[in-house]
Every structure is written in structure tokens, then in C-alpha cells.
Symmetry: C2
């Protein structure tokens, strides 16, 4: 209970950081995170979750200053932050800070780009604020993970609100005191239960974190005060929501080690826990092109967490398919893919998939690393195709290249805004830090949309 000055230290760093001190590798990772987020937000923008949120809440929107990415509607900045945050996460295809399984870009970027439509912000300033937000969010996550997550908190929501507040606070030029208030106002709104996984509320969490974090910054700017030690106080965030409080994770090495540099981008549209299985099955598909009728059975050996999180034997919907390692393996073996197309209702209901996933056997072994998987496919001709994946594509060891991110972006956005708008948007997005006005990106992400 004796930690002091934690919130102040972080707030002071967030308010005062000079852009020139950000290493170029971090700067570029920031751009990658932003580009990946933008593609996901456009890609998810037609989802029923987004439609229903708009149908419920648009009537309460203020002046329509901000773009709903991938759509024609415009809402006030706070509502746009909410909706874009939902869109960016709804396909479970966004990004992951593997140390905490926070999906970091959604809450922060959704808040920033929306606010950037209400005031002039250069791309470089937006990127600086984005990197600050990612850092704040992930460091707070490090301080309480895994206990906080194990207790049942959806850490993307609970820490994302701090990231959004710090990032928008930075855009608004808050001093240290007001930045600490912004974090306080954010922290006292921190929320999001894991019980919501599998429902529309899961993607609501990063959306609400974006919206509430941005509101926290505007409130603090107006002199709405708060605790100046929300993180470390006995009845503050870390003690209330977690049994673990490692405050050094928040304050040590600020500006030296960068959590923002550790972000990874999902090659597959589901929780990372089954990415090794999907990666291995895709490899077998590409190498052997086996057909369903030739497969007698499939054996998977994985960490126990895989079945705990994705043990659904008979998924009925696309969403349930994300929580079925059986379906994900079958689809990857037959189609070589784990993109959002793998998790549609049609894909999950495909009789060929239904039949094959019944022949998938899963053996769990605590000795296997969470990031690894072993796959063996037994064929009717007696052959046994095997693949071991030590680290899946998209992991820190095997990161997506910039081109991979562009490919993923195009694959998501072309069906929504078409090829021409996609090409213009992806070019702009990679040049984020050179844009005189970052809002240009938002407007480009609504061109030619349905």
C-alpha cells in the first residue's frame, strides 16, 4: 500500500513527452498499429453489432463532426469513438499486446481519430498521442495482469479507458495535474466483464473505453477534478480490481522500454489462443491440399487454455465458431484461412465443416507452451501429416510484415469501400505521420461506403 506518486509519474510523462525522443522503431510500430486498427474498423463496420448500437444511440448524438468509419453516418466525436471502437474489435481481428492480451489500439485510436475531427491535429501529433495511449494502457495492464484478468475483467476495456484518456488528454494539451485527473476520471469508469464474451458487449468494451476515456479528458480539461492517485491509492484502481499490484511496471523505464513496440497483429479473426492451431492447419492445407473425404481424423495437442477458452464442440453461429478450436482447425485444413470469412454463420454451418470437426480430437498438455501447437492429420491412405508450430504467424517471433498488414487491410476494406477508396486509404494511412490533418484519414475511410 506504500506506493506513492505512481499516477503522477505516469501523468507527467504522458503530458510532457517530447515527440523527438520516441525511437524510430516505436514510431513505426505505432504506424503499423494504427493502420491495422483502421482496416479492422472499416472491416467490422457493417456488423449487426454496429448496426444495433447505431440504431439505439444515434438519436442522442450531438453535432455530426466525426466519421463512422466505413459508413455514411456521422456523429459527435464521443459517439464516433464508441462506434468505431466497436467496429474495430467486433471481428476479433485487431491486435494483441501478448503480455496482457490487451487489444490496445481500439480504445485509443477510436478516441483519437474522432477527436481529431473536432479540432485540427497533425498526423504526427496524433501518432504521438496514440503511442502515449498505448503505453499508458499496456503498462497499467502489466501492473495487474494476470490476476485482474483471471478475476473476470476484460482487460481491454478496463485499461483501455486510461489509454484513451491519456491520449486525448495529450491532444488537448493537459498539464500534469489535469492529466492525472483525466486518469482518475477514466479509472473510476473502468469496467468490462469477461462474462460478456460471445455477446455484442465484448466489442462494446473497447468502444465504451474510447468514449469514456475521451470524455474523461474533456472533463479534466474543464477543471472537473478527481483523485490524483487513482492507480495506487488503497481504494484506487489496482487494489480494487486486482490482487496483484506491480507498480514498477507502470513507472520504471518510461521512455526507455516501450510496450507500444510489443504490439502484434492478428492474422486470424479469433482469440490468439488458437492461432498456433490455425497456422499449422493452414500450412498443411497449403502443402498437401487434402480434401475432407481423405481425412480420417485430426489430432491436436495444445495447452489446456485452448479447450478452456475455445472448447465449443458444436458451434451454431459464426461467433460461436471463434470459440471452437474444432471448427477453426477444420476450416483452416480445408480452406487454408482464418480470416473473418472462416467465422461466418455460413462457414460454421457448412456440412463439410460440421462433418470434419466431429473428427477433430484435442489432447491438452500443460507442458506445451500456450503459443505452440502440434497437429497430426491421419489420411485414409494411411499417411499421417504432422506439423508443430512453436510460434504462430503474427506473434512477436513471426510478426506480420508491413505488406502482410496491407494485405489484411485490403482484404477487409475492399468489400466495404471498394478498391479505389481502399487504395487511397491505405496509402494515406501508411503516411499518417506526414499528414497535415489527421482527420483526412477518417473522411477517406467513409468514401464510397455503402
Amino acid at each position: 500500500m506504500s506506493a506513492t506518486g505512481i499516477t503522477q509519474t505516469l501523468a507527467s510523462w504522458a503530458a510532457g513527452l517530447s515527440r523527438n525522443t520516441i525511437p524510430s522503431s516505436v514510431w513505426h510500430q505505432g504506424v503499423r498499429s494504427f493502420v491495422n486498427w483502421l482496416g479492422c474498423a472499416v472491416g467490422g463496420s457493417q456488423h449487426a453489432t454496429v448496426e444495433r448500437a447505431l440504431s439505439a444511440l444515434s438519436r442522442f448524438s450531438g453535432p455530426p463532426k466525426a466519421t463512422i468509419l466505413g459508413r455514411r453516418e456521422r456523429l459527435d466525436e464521443l459517439h464516433a469513438a464508441l462506434i468505431n471502437g466497436i467496429s474495430s474489435h467486433v471481428l476479433d481481428y485487431d491486435d494483441t499486446h501478448l503480455k496482457t492480451i490487451i487489444h490496445p489500439a481500439g480504445p485509443v485510436a477510436s478516441a483519437l481519430l474522432a477527436v481529431a475531427e473536432g479540432q485540427p491535429v497533425s498526423g504526427a501529433d496524433l501518432l504521438t498521442a496514440f503511442i502515449v495511449g498505448l503505453e499508458v494502457e499496456c503498462r497499467i495492464g502489466n501492473a495487474v495482469y494476470p490476476d485482474h484478468y483471471d478475476r473476470g475483467w476484460h482487460i481491454t476495456g478496463t485499461t483501455g479507458v486510461f489509454g484513451a484518456a491519456a491520449a486525448v488528454g495529450r491532444l488537448r494539451g493537459l498539464d500534469t495535474q489535469r492529466m492525472s485527473w483525466a486518469m482518475g476520471i477514466a479509472g473510476t469508469q473502468s469496467s468490462g466483464l469477461r462474462e460478456m464474451f460471445g455477446t455484442m458487449c465484448k466489442s462494446f468494451h473497447p468502444g465504451r473505453a474510447a468514449q469514456n476515456g475521451a470524455a474523461a479528458a474533456f472533463l479534466a480539461e474543464a477543471g472537473f477534478d478527481s483523485s490524483e492517485r487513482v492507480l495506487e491509492a488503497p481504494r484506487g484502481f489496482a487494489h480494487v480490481v486486482s490482487t496483484k499490484q506491480d507498480f514498477d511496471e507502470i513507472t520504471q523505464g518510461l521512455g526507455e522500454r516501450w510496450e507500444a513496440e510489443l504490439n502484434t497483429y492478428k492474422p486470424f479473426a479469433c482469440g490468439i489462443v488458437i492461432h498456433p492451431v490455425i497456422d499449422g492447419c493452414c500450412q498443411i492445407h497449403r502443402e498437401f491440399r487434402v480434401s475432407a473425404r481423405d481425412i480420417v481424423f485430426v489430432e491436436l495437442r495444445v495447452h489446456p487454455l485452448v479447450l478452456e477458452l475455445t472448447g465449443k464442440r458444436e458451434p451454431k453461429t459464426g461467433l460461436e465458431g471463434k470459440f471452437s478450436v474444432y471448427h477453426a482447425a477444420a476450416y483452416a485444413l480445408l480452406r487454408g484461412d482464418g480470416s473473418p470469412e472462416a467465422f461466418t454463420d455460413a462457414a460454421v454451418g457448412d456440412p463439410e465443416m460440421v462433418a470434419l470437426r466431429a473428427r477433430v480430437k484435442v489432447e491438452v498438455d500443460p507442458a506445451i507452451h500456450e503459443a505452440s501447437a502440434h497437429i497430426a492429420v491421419t489420411l485414409s491412405d494411411g499417411r499421417r501429416l504432422q506439423r508443430s508450430v512453436a510460434a504462430a504467424i503474427g506473434s512477436l517471433e513471426k510478426p506480420l510484415s508491413d505488406k502482410d498488414i496491407t494485405d489484411k487491410f485490403q482484404r477487409q476494406t475492399i468489400p466495404v469501400i471498394g478498391s479505389d477508396a481502399t487504395n487511397r486509404l491505405i496509402d494515406l494511412a501508411w503516411q499518417l505521420d506526414a499528414l497535415p490533418d489527421a482527420a483526412e484519414l477518417a473522411q477517406a475511410a467513409a468514401q464510397s461506403c455503402p
Copy 2:
């Protein structure tokens, strides 16, 4: 972990309750709670906390359909719910469900009256929804109190969001499934840290609970789905935020025992923990009219919680004065009052108060009931004036009468909207259940305002 159907049971009750089955005593207590809330919201409406929230967030408001009570501004229904919720709690003068120390009316009534300006709602329907919301909120509080509060959660915020969702869900005619979604969407936004006490964020909690609960109901209505067991699931509300989960408190005796009937109304504008001291000191003031210079010292004997919560020896601001039993006792002895006037910066800085509170001695004794206090005032002429308070005015044992509530209302609203508007408003408020259109009340509460 084996509790099942808790959320469904409560949602089904909230959606299906017939107004005619509400006992008349509960019905009247509902009116009292509403009247008390309305006076507090008008009374707090000029506070700096409200000003700053408006200054930060008005720019994001949608169509101005709803009244900011006691003010000229109008905002969309969700923003009005937020601001009115802040106003109603900002003077710590509202109401208390003593079993859980929830201040129940704020989150529920602030949501309901704002929503009633966006759609036609009779006073009786609003009152029914209000009673439903109070019941939902307090029963959920019972299930997790005191562990939940002890962990550091501001229970008015964390449970208020459920109450607001259920109440607005009721107004919107949600069926059981959508009502359970509304509770799920509410629960996954549940938040509010006790670390915020003493800052503007304390009253932000009931405001945000009102706003977020109302939004949850609108989302559920639009088919935005959620868990249908947010209360009882292993990673649902009760398990995540508390070590105690007494689900019988939620489901047993629904429609038979009524938590809404147990609401109490504050005669003094501070936490109830020092109400016995203030009551006793006011009694001594009325009986003996002692002056400061005649008092040698004051001795208080109280439960240890009094010093834990209100042990500030040298408060500097009105707000800090609420957390100083020394100040509260001195002011009550000299002025016979514990209304918001007792907790202004001027009152706290009055040299006579500063001098007298230095002569107040507090002895704690765990054997003394939390609701009791013993006061002894030693005078320079050798007399010793004593008073023991077993239960303070405003408690369940000594409730405020309807006339007391009217007096309290007038005392708060006359300085804001004047006598004429106050008289019209209080008459209307007591007739809540006969009003064809409840929105009339909101509009009357903004007449003649500054």
C-alpha cells in the same frame, strides 16, 4: 457458483410487475423518494461540479429534449440524466438505503425523468418504473454488501446502473429477455471507486450510472445482446466485484418485501455516519443556545467508523468539512444546522468554527452503535451539557415526515428558482402519481431558474 436464473428472475419481475400489486406504503415511499430527489437535484444545480461537467460535455449533446433541473440549459436525455444525477448527489444531501448505504434515487430518477421528456409517460408509470429501479438496485446491493463496499467500490455507482437500466427498460416496455440484456449491458459498465470521495467524481458516479443505465436499456431494446446471467455467472458482476454473493437477497420475496420502502432522507448534507453527532449538537443548540466563547471543550463518543470516514481535523473547504466530525459538531452547536450551508467554504473558514473545532475531542468506542452518539459540552461556568442520540433524525426509527421533506425541498429550491416556482413544483411533485405527463415536473423545475 451454482446459482442459476438470478438475472432472469429479477428481469422477469421488473418487466412484468403489475402496478396494482405495489402496496400503498411502498407507493407513497416512492413518491417521498422522488420528491426528495427532485429537491436535491434543483438544490445542487448551481454547484461548480455541475458547471464544469456542462462546460466539458454540452458540446456533445444531441437534440435538447430534456431539462437540466434548476437551470436553463437543455440537453439530450442521456446527458440530462448525467447532469441531473450529479446535481442530486453533489451536496451529499440526498437519500440512503441504510442496509447498503446506497443513495438509491439519484441514478434511477435522473434517468427516468430525462427519458420521460423524450416520450410520453404518465406519473404513475414513471413512479412504477422508479420503484422497480430502486428495488433492483438495492437488492443487488444487498447481495454483495458489505464486502463489495469494503473492497473500495462506490456502491451507489456500481448498483445504480442496474437500477437505471431496469427502470428505463420498464418505461420502454422491454420483455424479459431484453430486460436481462439491459441488466447485462448495465453490469458490464458498473463502476465507481471510493478513492474518488472528496472529489467531483463522487457525484459523477450516480450521474454516469443514470446515463449508462438508460443507454443500456435503449441498446437492449434495439437488440444489442448481452449475457443473460450477468449477476450470477462465474465471471459476472457479483463474483468479480465481491467476495460475498448472497443471491437470495436478489430473488427471495420479490413483491413481498420491498427495499424501496426502506429508503431514508438526509436531514444533513453529509455522510450519515455523523448524523447522530449533528442531531445531538443541534438539540443542544436549540435547548441552550450556547455561544462559542462559553464552550471550554466538546467531547464526542462515537463508533470508530466516524473517525475513519470523517476524521479531518483541519478542513480547508466546504467539501472537506463534510469529512470533519469536528467541523460538523462545531457548526451544529453554534448554528443548529447541518444543511448545505454548514458545508460551504465560508462556514468552514469562519474563525469562530475554526476555534471551536480545535476544542472538540473525539473518543471512539466499538461498543457504541454506528447510528448512535454521545455528546458532552463543558461550559466555562462549570456546567456540562449532555445529549445521547440513539437514532438520529432521518433514520428509519425517526423518519422525516412528509412536511420535513417539503421543508427540506423548499430550503433547497427557493434560492435557485424562487418561492413561486418552488411552490408550484412541490405541489406537482407530491402529485406525481396523478400527473398525465411526468415531463411536466422537469419543465416546472427549470422555471425561473438563473
